[in-house]
């Protein structure tokens, strides 16, 4: 199948002042689009190679699938786990599970922020289907630091293109601003889906 860039679920200026219209425009229209294109292009290379029987470039094309595919998957979630009405704490089953697995919302948040400061890619809250629990991950680039069998629930992009134009080197301010627009509806949906499948 061919991947397509989904439109943002809100206007480009909807997350201001946390994320500027300019940053969201570049981020969605050029960076995210680039990962979609990169994934499709790598798939084409793989298909051509399978057809011709010459697999010389397949190893690096598979790497391109991982890099661009993870870039697409995580941006797709990132847009959905923010919203102009966001900024609250999680509720319901996901809130209970965060408390169970991390001790408290504040303990989870402190750990997630530490992950975001340590990463050169993403901080992720994932459902780990091997251990049947939530955990935070530190991801470099889009794919380094993954735990097999984990499903992203909440994603925070800390690539410099995500904040540098708005915040300069002050990544901590951007992380604080992210929590002003975080929207837990999609994470709750994903969490409940994971529980249904894996527990």
């Amino acid at each position: 199948m061919s991947q397509e860039l989904p439109p943002l679920p809100y206007d480009y200026d909807a997350l201001e002042p946390s994320i500027s219209e300019q940053v969201l425009t570049w981020h969605h229209d050029t960076h995210h689009q680039g990962y979609v294109n990169g994934w499709n292009s790598a798939e084409e290379t793989l298909a051509e190679n399978r057809e011709s029987g010459d697999f010389g470039s397949s190893g690096s094309a598979i790497r391109n699938v991982t890099h661009n595919g993870c870039g697409h998957i995580l941006h797709d979630l990132f847009w959905q786990n923010m919203g102009p009405e966001g900024g609250d704490e999680p509720t319901g089953a996901l809130a209970d599970r965060i408390e169970e697995d991390f001790g408290s919302y504040d303990a989870w948040k402190g750990e997630f922020e530490a992950a975001a400061k340590n990463a050169s890619g993403w901080a992720l809250l994932v459902y780990d289907s091997f251990s049947n629990q939530l955990r935070n991950l530190v991801v470099d680039k889009h794919d380094q630091g993954a735990l097999w069998g984990s499903h992203p629930i909440l994603a925070l992009d800390v690539w410099e293109h995500s904040y540098y134009y708005d915040y300069g080197p002050a990544r901590g301010d951007f992380i604080d601003a992210f929590f002003e627009v975080v929207d837990w509806e999609e994470p709750s949906r994903r969490y409940e889906q994971a529980v249904e499948i894996f527990e």
Binding site: W26, S120, H142, W159, Y164, Y165
Partner: protein
Amino acid sequence: MTYELPDLPYDYDALEPAIDARIMELHHDKHHQGYVDGANSALEKLQSMREGGDFGDIKGVERNLAFNLSGHVNHTVFWRNMSPDGGGEPGGELADAIEERFGSFDGFKRHFSEAAKGVEGSGWGMLLYDHLGDQMIVGIAENHQNQTPQGTTPLLVLDVWEHAYYLQYENNRGEYVDNFWDVVNWDDVAQRYDDCKGRTIQ
């Protein structure tokens, strides 16, 4: 020893229009300073571990040392690799060596540029001296230290972390890489080549 942030060898605005003053100021004063502080902090922690005998977080601290010290090394070389009087082509022995190794100066420039433009995420394009092969190679470093061949010395490095160009070039890394050649200080690169040449490891 304690690492210290070296002064820039020119004013913040000296590399304009290739790199604007605001980028240079943040890049040198905040980012490079952060790597210097991070490297010193890692060394202090290692010292405490040796004294206290508790090596609990040894992996994390060694990781921080590699990241921050490599960041310090790369930026130190990067500032000196550029000059307001830069650009043009190398001369002398370095020019001959580049031609012999890469076919032509343009061939090298294309190779280096494509490597820098092709870095996935944060990292560097690098011309390295390989002390085992006694020759130059072009490499890519991710972050500051990953996928770097051992036993090499940086001769010419180009920072393609987004903090190095985003405020001026936005997402157009290619244009930044192309403009970099206008400020390359070939005298500095030639000096580094001369220091490395013939110094081989067995």
